[in-house]
Amino acid sequence: MNPWLVALLRALLILVVMLLNGSLAIYMVRKVLGHAHLRLGPTELGPAGIAQVIADIVKLLTKEDRHPNRSDRWLYLIAPFIVFVPSFVAFSFIPFTDKLVAANPEMSLLMMLAFLAVPPLGIFAAGWSSRSKFATIGAMRAIGGMVTYEIPLLLAAIPPVILAGSANLQAIVLAQSHSIWYILPCLPSFVIALICAQMETNQAPFDMTEADQELVAGFSTEYSAMRFGFMYLAEFAGNFTFAALIVSLFLGGWTLPGISATALGPFAVLVFVAKCYLLIFLFMMVRGTYSRYRVDHYLEVGWKRLLPFSLAWIVVFAAAVRIIAMLKGGA
C-alpha cells in the first residue's frame, strides 16, 4: 500500500482515538469526581447522563469565538496548537498491540518524552498572549510546575529501560511479558511517574495553574468556544498519553502475564485500553481526594525532594541490578 496513505491513515486513527478518549474522559471525570464526593454527577440528559457529553460538545462548538482586544493575536491563535500537536505526536509512539503502533523508532520512549517537553511552552503562550492577569499568573505557574516535574518523569523512566535493555516502548512492553511487570521491582519509579503525570496534566492536587478559586480558568481564561474546547481536549489527551506511558513502562502495556501475544490477538487493544482507563480513574480519584498544593510548595517538592530522590533511586536500583547480575553470573 502507498506509504503516504498508510501514514495518513495512522495519523487519522490516532486523531479518532484521541477524540473518542476526550468524550469518554469528559463523562468519566464528572462521574468519578461526583461519586468520590458522594454526589451523582450528570444524570439528566440521556441514561445516566451520557448525553451530557454531546451537550458539552455542541455547546463548545456553537459558542461565540472571540478574542480579547489587547491580546497578542498570532500567539493567541497558535497557542492551542502548540499544546495539542506535541501531545498528539507523542501519542503515536504508544504500542497498542504487538503490531499496532503508529510510529516505532529505535528510541521511541525518549522521543515521546522529548515531545512531551513542548506543551508547557504552548500553555505559557496561551496565558501570556491573553494579556489578562489571571492568564499570565496561570501561565507562569504552569511553566514553572511542568518544567519542574518533567525531570523526575524522565528519571523515573530509566529503571524500566535498565531492566529491558532498550529505550523502545514496544521492546519494554515485550520484555515485561517475558518477566514480571516492572511496577514490582521499580515501585518508587512508578509512584514518581504517577506524581509527575498528575502535575503534567495540571490536575489536582497540582492544579494551581487552573484553579477556579484562584484564577478563574488560569491560562485558558480568555479562550472561548472551540479554542477552549481544543485546550480541554488537549488536557484529556495528555491524560491518556501519560496513562498510556505509565502503563507501557510499568504495567505491562498490552500484555497479560502468562498469555502470549498471538493468543491475545486483537484483545490486546482492550487489555491496554482497560489498563489505561484504570490509571485514568486513579488520576481522577487523586484529583477528587487531595487538597491543592500551594505553588511554592509543589515547586519545592519537585526540586528539593522528588528530583534528588529519583536520582538516588536510580543509583540504588542500578547497583542492585548489577549486584544481582554478578551474583547470578557467579553462582
Binding site: 461519586h35 468520590a36 458522594l38 451523582l40 480519584m285 481526594t289 487531595y290 487538597s291
Partner: protein, 166 residues
C-alpha cells in the same frame, strides 16, 4: 497574679507527620467509593422535614375546621419584621370579627416568635417550603378572611372543661 490560660498538665496537640494527611485522605476516599451517594434528586425526590423545621406560618384548624385565633394581636406585636397585620373589628358586645389576617409571607424570616408568643396555639410554623411565586400579589396573603374571632373566655372555659375529661 497572672495565671496561664492552659494548665501545666495540658499537653500540646500532637504534631502530625507528613504522610498522615495523605494517608487519611486516601482512607476517606477509599471508604467513600463504597458509600451510597447522599444526593436527593429534587424534584424527583424530596427531603423529609424534621418536625421542628420552620417554614411559613400557618393557621391551626381543629377537626371541625374551626380556627383558634382570638385576634389578641400578640403575634402582630411580637413579629420582628412586622409581617402580620390583623384587620379586626370590635363590636359593642366586646366580640371581635376578623376581616383579614394578613401575612406578608415574602418578608417573613420564619423566626417563630409569633408562634411562641401566641397563647392559644392558633398558628404554627408550617412545613411547606416551595413558596416561590411569580405574581407580586402573592407576597402578602390572607390566612383568615371574614371570620369570627374565638372568644378567649369561652375558649378557656372549653379548655378547662376538656381537661378533667381527657
Amino acid at each position: 497574679m497572672t495565671t496561664s490560660l492552659t494548665p501545666a498538665s495540658a499537653s500540646a496537640p500532637k504534631k502530625a507527620h507528613w504522610p498522615s494527611g495523605l494517608i487519611s485522605a486516601a482512607r476517606i476516599a477509599a471508604i467513600n467509593l463504597f458509600r451510597r451517594n447522599i444526593t436527593i434528586q429534587y424534584p424527583k425526590q424530596r427531603y423529609d422535614q424534621p418536625d421542628r423545621s420552620r417554614w411559613a406560618v400557618e393557621q391551626v384548624f381543629d377537626e371541625a375546621g374551626m380556627h383558634r385565633c382570638t385576634a389578641c394581636k400578640i403575634c402582630e406585636q411580637s413579629c420582628s419584621d412586622k409581617c402580620i397585620h390583623i384587620d379586626v373589628e370590635t363590636r359593642e358586645d366586646k366580640t371581635k370579627f376578623i376581616h383579614a389576617w394578613n401575612y406578608e409571607r415574602a418578608a417573613c424570616m420564619m423566626c417563630g416568635l409569633c408562634v411562641e408568643a401566641c397563647p392559644y396555639g392558633a398558628i404554627r410554623m408550617g412545613h411547606d417550603y416551595e413558596l416561590a411565586h411569580s405574581a407580586s400579589a402573592e407576597k402578602r396573603i390572607d390566612l383568615l378572611r371574614e371570620v369570627e374571632a374565638i372568644d378567649p373566655r369561652k375558649k378557656q372555659a372549653a379548655d378547662t372543661q376538656e381537661a378533667p375529661d381527657a
